[in-house]
Point group: C2
Chain length 401, copies 2
């Protein structure tokens, strides 16, 4: 192991919980994002005031119990961005977990500590959560694998709530084999025997929104897909999926995500924020203000657009069809450069969320694969499947890379 | 209006919130179960200590905002069973809302006040929540229509959590037309043009578990279905759906519901219960004890069985296939007779949950239709559809009855 847990700065607490059973995760060790309950411990949610104002967890989250029962050992709680509300990964109170493949860059958030612990070799895999990219973005930034499952398939009991229409429990791992094994336990699914996609759609606008260096860095894995699947690989456009006249970019899906997520985040956190007036880091304070000041009259029609888009996407994608996009638009920002959302440069925040909101708004599973490199900084390529086809998606990824 | 709101005992608070828009719910008035947030008000969750220990809601729940935007007027908050944790409807602190069609009987819970307000003509429709039957059972008991939607399709932001793998926001109404209109707003769906089922499966074991008087009371609507749909009506058995060897009754699905719901309820409520030690009514205290003392080593394999059953049920039901079952096994218990779960007689609690857990464990939408009468006490007949076919289910129900 090249790093100690302390050197990574990934953990809020180290401990050992032995497996409660045996199974496909035997001899694997995992870490848990500190917004997921461990029995008897306080769950921090990345903010000291949250920890002070909430009692210890009465039980471990269902997802933790599943992993322990399958034979895995839990080694600690990892840093989360405050209230899971940032994709950067520089927690104002608890610091910035090491991005060991690109140490001058942020790990990404909000599952920053989980990604760091896995990338640095401290844990075989880790639990994260993903509302708007919080598993996928740090997986991409840190050069590891990450899965956001189909919304609703993995229990969120015992997990802090940000935006329930988007919140999922996901997993991060250094390799696809461990990722698949851990994810199948969480999904209560068997390994898929089927690993041949009917079609793989490269989504043009998703590559267009990227930095040219990111698109270039992903050419090699795209070529592998093309060689492997020949005429099952297709170029597609948003216009084929989302047949609204104005659908000329990723903006529609980003707008859906942005409005509904802010509305629900204020539903979930607003009363606590107003009652406690907690100190917040500058990025988080800004996001909370945006949630608080949202024009909520937008919400009902945005919810209609979300469900319409969900139905369209799941009609566009036939059984075993995949969508292929870059996970992020740019490599991870340099550390200490992002104190406000727009400081990340070239619309980083909006562009990343444009990509991550595709799965979010349509309840699709998405796997981020560590297949690109931009001057030493990792970037991920993503495959997305139809809702509920998580096991198939994992099998395809395993069979290719 | 035959009753005043005060006479029904259904409300914890009356007020008027004007519509914020216009649409298909214009001129309709609705009530909101008091575990769903209204901006600026404290949400009681049926327990005084809960209300004391939680700040006012910072925003209204998404589902409330949708209804107001579609032109409906909100007239108040209705009594919920404590912590949504009973199907009886006799709140220890706030009393028993009137079951106006059977005044000597309980309204059913946990959406007791919402069902009462609608049945007594105070509201055109009402929001409820349904984890293990909390919309369907009071709808059946009070002789009105109720919909439990597909899990995950209606936003639960701003709604108190009991067991997130089962929690849904549903709706109750006196007629199917209003039920459909309100539900379509919540579901962000259009009225389905398709109203012809491919098949309607009468589930034998579900009728077998009922009191003979209930099965007899439902013969007439069953006959109507048979006359209308001829050879598309089929008799089926659990053995055709759930091909486990031991599947000889509803027990498997009830067991799945029971264990996972208790586990998740303790995840959601345990830390607050342990920290506050609130006074609880006797039924609720018993349920909380069962949740606290659950053997949690059962949870991972139960979660596996749930997902296995979900996949089997959604494979058994083809597109536009329906399942037909009684909503409940018995008419509503007489008031004041149920202080413990097993006092309801003849295993009432277990038998009702056996029926309601079919939709719960498989994420199916279910509509309860007020089509039966046992000596003056209403009982409902239910249709269930495939996950996501909610609009179709509503259209079928509207076209028949």
């Amino acid at each position: 192991m090249p790093y100690t847990a302390a050197e990574t700065g990934a953990f809020v607490r180290s401990f050992t919980i032995a497996p409660t059973g045996s199974g496909q995760l035997e001899r694997l060790i995992f870490a848990v994002k500190d917004l997921i309950d461990i029995s008897g411990q306080k769950t921090g949610f990345g903010n000291p005031r949250w920890q002070e104002t909430h009692p210890p967890a009465a039980a471990s989250a269902i997802c933790v119990e599943q992993l322990l029962a399958a034979g895995a050992t839990c080694i600690g709680k990892t840093i989360t961005e405050e209230l899971a509300y940032s994709l950067i990964g520089e927690n104002h109170f608890y610091g910035t977990p090491l991005n060991c493949k690109a140490p001058d860059r942020v790990p990404g958030g909000s599952s920053s500590g989980s990604a760091s612990a896995v990338a640095c070799g401290i844990a075989d895999f880790a639990l994260g959560t993903d509302t708007g990219g919080s598993v996928r973005v740090p997986a991409s930034n840190c050069g590891i694998w990450g899965l956001r499952p189909t919304h609703g398939l993995v229990s969120v009991a015992g997990v802090c709530t940000l935006s329930p229409s988007f919140d999922t429990v996901g997993v991060l791992a250094a390799g696809v084999d461990v990722l698949e094994r851990a994810a199948l336990v969480l999904l209560s699914a068997k390994r898929s025997q089927e690993d041949q996609p009917a079609a793989i759609h490269f989504l043009r606008e998703a590559f267009d929104v990227c930095d040219p260096e990111v698109a270039a860095a992903l050419q090699n894995p795209l070529r592998i897909l093309q060689e492997r699947f020949g005429n099952r690989v297709r170029n597609t456009s948003i216009r084929e999926i989302d047949q609204e006249k104005e659908a000329t970019g990723l903006g529609n899906w980003y707008e859906i995500y942005k409005v509904l997520q802010r509305a629900e985040a204020w539903n979930s956190l607003g009363s606590w924020i107003e009652a406690e007036k907690p100190e917040l880091g500058s990025m988080i304070a800004e996001s909370i203000e945006l949630a608080k000041n949202l024009d909520r009259s937008l919400v009902p029609s945005i919810k209609d657009r979300k469900e319409d888009y969900y139905r369209r996407m799941n009609a566009f994608l036939g059984p075993r069809d995949l969508l292929c996009i870059p996970t992020v638009c740019s490599p991870a920002p340099l550390k200490g450069t992002v104190r406000k959302r727009d400081q990340a440069g070239k619309g980083y925040y909006v562009r990343v969320l444009s990509l991550t909101s595709i799965a979010g708004a349509a309840r699709l599973p998405q796997i981020s694969m560590p297949l690109g490199d931009v001057g030493g900084a990792p970037v991920g390529l993503s495959l997305l499947a139809r809702s509920n086809e998580d096991a198939f998606l994992l099998a395809v990824a395993r069979s290719i890379f």
